[in-house]
């Protein structure tokens, strides 16, 4: 017994309650909705894959190639449109513009607290907290004056800052409010060193380069970031880890698992498509997300993903890298059971989908004897004609065999090869070695230029030789 989808079931129940229906009426209502639902179900053998692929890619032709703003005016620029769709479907390890949406739990829903969280999240490099830096070229020392206020707000002190700098061959000391860096090595470019030190990570989460605090449509504080690190962000106090997301699907898979990744693919793809004002049924995106993740890892759609991991050799060879797949199959001695659509088309059979997967069982109505006779007559004529053709072929073959028997001797000579007298052999060999020496020289350079060029010389010699022998035979 089939069930209605949960949502519709609920709606129907509510409707019945509202109208105060008797159980009998309710049952009838149920039945009617059920019939409507059954009419809408997929037909068996429907080629859902092809339709999904077409439904997803047809609107892609209308997408823009541009990037757009994320949220309102002061938002973060995020890749959208066709490039983003390609990114998702290809299962790129890292999106072009990784971005996060961080939700804050109820305790921290005030502006200063949120600002504080945002500051903790944002990656801070040494250059962001340094006010001045002085280079002592003679002693190879660089001094950095730090901004006290900024450091305090980040809940770190100068010692911690010094411990964060991880560069080889230097000594770091603290002199009051200054950070003093001495190079252990001499002859080092101190400018480069200074630059290197300034770029070192001090606080916050790596790769998160921008944070923007905003109130969303539900009047809730939300942090948008450019750069993504789901695991570390969720560990920060005040962050609501149950709702915080990223657009990096692989990160979601690492932290929450493959089912979450599937949902992320659906969400991101639908968002991108809808943002462009295009309508595609969500079921197709779900199907694609399902096939991308059903193998417990995220597979893209290209030759390194689903299309390259099919079990049918012919299907793979017909897509890309024909040589690789055929050779691999030959070495491993694989067998293709021709169960897919491409394989059957290549074998000139109907693909096993839709009406192609059914055959007619049973017998045709009896043919009236009169017509049957007619057809038998036709059949007889056809077989007669076929026999004639076959007989003609055999006759020709026999004639040829006869003709060949007559001319047996010269042919035998050709096949056994080199029947020539020793004299001829010697002469020829002498000629050949001369030529070969030349050819040998040529071969080293020759392949690079033209091989065909060499042909006339040797061929002519041989032709004349062979034609001579033939003439003799004749």
């Amino acid at each position: 017994m089939m069930k209605l989808p949960e949502k519709i079931e609920q709606q129907v129940e509510e409707f019945a309650k509202e109208k105060k229906m008797t159980p009998d009426k309710k049952k009838k209502l149920h039945e009617e909705v059920m019939t409507a639902y059954k009419m809408m179900l997929y037909s068996p053998e429907e080629a859902i894959g092809i339709i999904a692929a077409q439904s997803l890619s047809e609107p892609a032709t209308q997408m823009t190639m541009r990037t757009y703003h994320f949220a309102g005016t002061a938002g973060i620029q995020v890749t959208l449109g066709l490039p983003r769709i390609l990114e998702i479907f290809d299962a790129k390890k890292e999106p072009e513009t990784p971005a996060m949406t961080i939700y804050i739990d109820k305790k921290h829903q005030t502006e200063p607290k949120v600002t504080h969280i945002a500051e903790m999240i944002k990656e801070v490099k040494l250059k962001d907290v340094v006010t001045t830096s002085i280079m002592d070229v003679i002693n190879m020392v660089v001094k950095f004056r730090l901004n006290d206020e900024k450091i305090k707000r980040l809940e770190i002190d100068i010692k911690k800052v010094s411990s964060k700098i991880k560069i080889k061959n230097i000594e770091i000391g603290v002199q009051g409010k200054d950070l003093v860096v001495t190079s252990k090595k001499e002859n080092i470019n101190i400018h480069k060193l200074r630059y290197k030190i300034l770029e070192s990570h001090v606080s916050g989460i790596k790769n998160i380069s921008q944070v923007i605090i905003q109130k969303d449509e539900f009047d809730e504080w939300v942090i948008h970031t450019l750069g993504s690190n789901l695991k570390k962000v969720c560990e920060i106090e005040g962050v609501d880890g149950t709702r915080t997301t990223t657009n990096n699907i692989f990160e979601i898979k690492e932290v929450f698992g493959i089912e979450a990744a599937r949902n992320a693919i659906i969400k991101e793809a639908m968002h991108t498509i809808e943002e462009q004002g295009l309508g595609v049924d969500i079921r197709y995106v779900m199907l694609l997300a399902d096939i991308m993740t059903f193998n417990e890892k995220i597979m893209g759609i290209g030759r390194y993903g689903i299309a390259g991991h099919k079990h049918s050799i012919i299907a793979r060879a017909s897509f890309e890298e024909t040589k690789k797949h055929l050779i691999d199959a030959a070495v491993k001695g694989l067998k293709d059971d021709l169960s897919g659509s491409v394989e059957n088309i290549i074998m000139n059979k109907v693909a096993p989908m839709g009406t192609g997967s059914f055959t007619l069982i049973g017998s045709l109505p009896k043919v009236p004897s009169e017509i049957k006779k007619e057809y038998e007559k036709i059949e007889k004529e056809m077989t007669k004609r076929r026999e004639e053709v076959e007989a003609e072929r055999l006759k020709v073959l026999e004639e040829q065999k006869q003709a060949e028997k007559v001319a047996e001797e010269p042919k035998a000579e050709l096949l056994t090869e080199e029947p020539k007298t020793e004299k001829q052999k010697e002469e020829k060999a002498a000629k050949k070695t001369e030529k070969k020496a030349k050819v040998g020289e040529k071969t080293k350079k020759e392949p690079k230029t033209r091989i065909a060029k060499k042909k006339p010389a040797t061929e002519k010699a041989k032709k004349s030789a062979s034609s001579e022998t033939k003439k003799k035979k004749k």
Binding site: P5, I8, V12, F15, M21, L29, E32, A36, Y37, L41, Y42, P44, E46, G49, I50, Q54, S55, E58, A60, T61, T73, L86, L226, Y284, L287, D290, I291, I301, A307, S312, I313, A317, T322, K323, L326, A329, V331, D336, D337, L338, S339, V342, I346, T355, E374, V396, Q400, L414, L415, A429, K432, K436, G440, T443, P447, A452, K455, K462, S466, S467
Partner: protein, 831 residues
């Protein structure tokens, strides 16, 4: 000849097999003798198949159609490595003990490539120290410092025991077969030669290659026989290796391509198979077809959506086979007499062209069992297609209607699924040749069964452009006809219907004719202005459509009601479940719209977008406001007091804010224009959703706004400025793409230039996009093509792997649904 292939096995060709399947051994590099006949023992030997019509194969006696070709073989003087397997050979050499010939592992079942990456230094069986294997691309090996030639490779592989091969999953054959001793020579008809007009023969690339191989091989053998110095032999040996390698694959890295005399690279075996024009994608998966036609399309609203007008010239060329039976023999005879048959086929398969001379003879001869190929006639099912065929509705079945003139005629309502217009588009038409195909086409591919798109569950076929405008104007309040006028119009539209018994017949009455009686609807039309307080049916803009029992009570019918992609009434009628009814609705509505528009006339002119002076002043003020706001931003920026947006430099924030300010200005202008513009046919078109938008009107009447390149204001040009019209460092709106005038007023020269820049960007974007999305489509289709819904509603691939346990999670097919949902309220009678 039919045979059923159930499976394909791949493997490595056994030399013994090569010898067995060959009919001859190749012994000479000559192709033809002095008389132009193929030389016996040459690579064009007539025992390997026929390529000339009239010749007979000397192996099987068949002619060009019957003989499938026979292999030959060539004995190589010294073995050469098969290049296509070179990576496997390399791994095998690495994994094989150089002394005892065992595979260097004791573990069971390990991949060859995996093992090759991590080989032990000593043999686990005989403890022999292994020398380092060096692979020099493309096909040379060194063992330590010594050369390791093909003969030695072969010897090594011969020693590998069979049970060791199982361990490394080497099941395609013996490894020594990867080193060729016998070269199979493909049948002649796989490499046919072409005779040029001059009588010269032009050989196939493979033949050229084979000739080279045979020749070098012969001289190699001779040199070995006379005991020539080793370096000569090695040189020749390598030459053989080179030629054999390029025969298989002529795109190997590390060696030069073998070239034709003209400098064109030769096509190796791999080149024949791979790529778009290769054997697999070019000949096996896609084929050229007969019984097809192509010409320009043009509209004909009097045709039904599932009909197509076929020019007489096309119809007389395309044929459909029909069996002659006792039931139709008289009809057939008549058809032959009246010139409706092109060919007749005798039961023995011979084809006879029907001409004026033999017509009477054929009538006498023709009998049951013959097949006639008759010309296309009205009512035949044909497939109609427009490229690019992006989705399944790009090919649909139509019923042919033979017509004069030379274009295919179609109802403009079926343009949306094909994405066609009539600015010179061409379309293809295919005449179906079997009854099975015709039945499937009319049951599955008919336009009327494909009105609802599987993509989003809405209608794909629907009224378009003028048809929408027509119906919109017809259904407006105040459109009235006398019964005579109404009857006249219906007649001209070819609508057969009863008029209501009234003195004045309104447009709404007429538009109600095609709506089925079962329809009850209430929805907001496209013209709805989203007023803060909706007054429902009393809307003075007629924005609320109410249909009761198929009668249009209030509101106008526009794009939202009847248009393609949106049409709500179309979806509603679809829930009744009768495709024929739905098709008729679209047909009749379309004709009605066209008929009314022809009666009323539709005209647009420059004065349609005229605005009064005071309004123009307001607009000018708004534009000035926006520009002065922008100027303030610039001066702020120059002072350095601009507030930088997060993550942006001052310049970037300026640009972002400039764009926003100017866009805001345009928005204000647009509001004024929409509010004040007087009603005209242009407005009717934008309001009804037939074509155009408020932005288009604004751009014509008042102001074009900011032109952008890559989402930014125009920045390129000279150093520091965009054009010589401006000073260096000018940041003003006008100098960076702001067009302050409308198209009616006319653009300044530099403004015109901005407009062109934007236009060019659009063109470039389009061409790049089509390529990218085309490839994406190919990959998507390749990934998903084998998925289908099984009887138990699971979605599975061709291997039986389950992708979804319940198709689409709720099992609803969007093409049978209402916008992807089950609107169950539409289907109930209870309550």
């Amino acid at each position: 000849m039919t045979s059923n292939i159930n499976s394909l096995e791949f493997g490595i060709l056994n030399p013994e097999m090569v010898r067995q399947m060959a009919t001859i051994r190749i012994v000479t590099s000559d192709l033809y003798d002095a008389d132009g006949y193929p030389v016996d023992g040459g690579v064009m030997d007539s025992r390997m198949g026929v390529i000339d019509p009239g010749m007979r194969c000397r192996t099987c006696g068949g002619n060009i159609d019957q003989c499938k070709g026979h292999f030959g073989y060539l004995e190589l003087a010294k073995p050469v490595v098969h290049v296509l397997f070179i990576k496997v050979v390399y791994s095998l050499i690495k994994c094989t003990c150089q002394k005892c010939g065992r595979i260097l592992t004791k573990s069971e079942k390990i991949g060859l490539e995996k093992l090759a990456k991590n080989i032990p230094a000593k043999c686990p069986y005989c403890d022999a120290q292994q020398k380092k294997v060096v692979f020099i691309k493309p096909y040379t090996f060194n063992l330590g410092k010594d050369e390791f030639d093909s003969e030695k490779v072969r010897e090594m592989f011969e020693k590998i025991p069979d049970e060791d091969l199982k361990k490394i999953k080497f099941r395609g054959g013996r490894p020594e077969w990867l080193v060729l001793t016998l070269l199979p020579v493909s049948p002649v008809n796989t490499r046919p030669s072409i005779t040029l007009e001059t009588g010269e023969r032009s050989e196939d690339d493979l033949t050229h290659k084979l000739v080279d191989i045979v020749r070098i091989n012969q001289s190699l053998r001779e040199n070995i026989d006379i005991g020539a110095p080793e370096f000569i032999i090695n040189d020749l040996w390598e030459l053989v290796q080179y030629h054999v390698s390029t025969l298989f694959d002529n795109e190997l890295t590390g060696i030069p391509q073998a070239r034709h005399r003209s400098g064109r690279p030769l096509r190796g075996m791999i080149q024949r198979l791979k790529g778009k024009e290769g054997r697999i994608r070019g000949n096996l998966l896609g084929k050229r077809v007969n019984f097809s036609a192509r010409t320009v399309i043009s509209p004909d609203p009097m045709l039904s959506v599932n009909e197509v007008g076929v020019p007489e010239e096309v119809a007389s060329e395309l044929t459909i086979p029909e069996h002659v039976t006792p039931l139709n023999i008289e009809v057939v005879k008549n058809m032959i007499l009246t010139g409706k048959v092109n060919y007749v086929l005798r039961p023995d398969g011979r084809k006879i062209k029907v001409t004026d001379d033999n017509r009477n003879d054929l009538i006498r001869l023709i009998d049951k069992g013959w097949i006639i190929e008759r010309k296309l006639k009205d009512g035949d099912v044909v497939l109609f297609n427009r490229q690019p065929s992006l989705h399944k509705v790009s090919i649909m079945a139509h019923y042919a209607v033979v017509m004069p003139y030379k274009t295919f005629r179609m109802n403009p309502s079926v343009c949306p699924p094909y994405n066609a217009d009539f600015d010179g588009d061409e379309m293809n038409l295919h005449a179906l040749q079997t009854q099975e195909a015709r039945t499937e086409a009319s049951l599955l591919m008919d336009v009327k069964h494909n009105i609802i798109s599987p993509k989003f569950g809405g209608s794909l076929v629907g009224l378009d452009l003028d048809q929408v405008t027509g119906i919109y104007m017809l259904t407006k309040n105040g459109v009235e006809f006398t019964p005579e006028e109404a009857a006249d119009m219906l007649a001209s539209a070819g609508i057969d219907a009863e008029l209501p018994n009234k003195k004045k017949i309104t447009g709404k009455d007429l538009a109600s004719i095609p709506i089925p009686k079962e329809i009850n609807m209430k929805f907001k039309a496209n013209i709805c202005r989203q007023c803060a307080k909706c007054v429902g049916e009393d809307c003075k803009n007629e924005g609320m459509v109410v249909i009761k029992k198929g009668q249009l009570i209030s509101g106008v019918l526009d794009k939202t009601a009847i248009g393609a992609f949106k049409g709500k009434i179309i979806n509603k009628i679809n829930t009744l479940g009768d495709d024929e009814q739905l098709k008729n609705f679209i047909d009749v509505m379309g004709r009605l719209g066209t008929a009314y528009l022809m009666k009323r006339g539709l005209t647009i002119g420059i004065s349609d977008i005229d605005l009064s002076k005071s309004v123009m002043n307001d607009i000018q003020k708004d534009i000035q406001d926006a520009v002065s706001k922008a100027n303030k931003l610039i001066s702020k920026y120059n002072e350095g007091s601009i507030r930088a947006l997060p993550g942006m430099t001052a310049k970037e924030s300026l640009e972002a804010q400039m764009l926003n300010t100017l866009a805001g200005g345009l928005n204000e202008v647009s509001k004024i224009v929409v509010k004040n513009i007087s009603y005209s046919d242009i407005i009717a078109m934008t309001e009804s959703g037939a074509k155009g938008s408020n932005i288009n009107t604004t751009q014509m009447a008042a102001c074009v706004g900011s032109e952008t390149i890559l989402g930014e204001r125009i920045q390129r040009g000279y150093m520091g400025r965009t054009l010589p019209h401006f000073e260096v460092g000018d940041l003003s709106a006008a100098s960076h793409g702001f067009v302050a005038r409308g198209f009616k007023e006319g653009l300044l020269p530099y403004e015109f230039f901005w407009n062109l820049m934007n236009g060019r960007e659009g063109l470039m974007d389009k061409s790049l996009r089509t390529r990218k999305s085309g490839y994406m489509q190919r990959r998507l289709i390749n990934s998903l093509q084998d998925l289908k819904v099984f009887d138990d509603m699971t979605v599975r691939g061709s291997n039986g792997e389950i992708i979804q346990f319940f198709a689409g999670e709720d099992g609803i097919d969007p093409s049978k649904s209402d916008w992807g949902k089950l609107e169950w309220q539409n289907y109930i009678t209870v309550g």
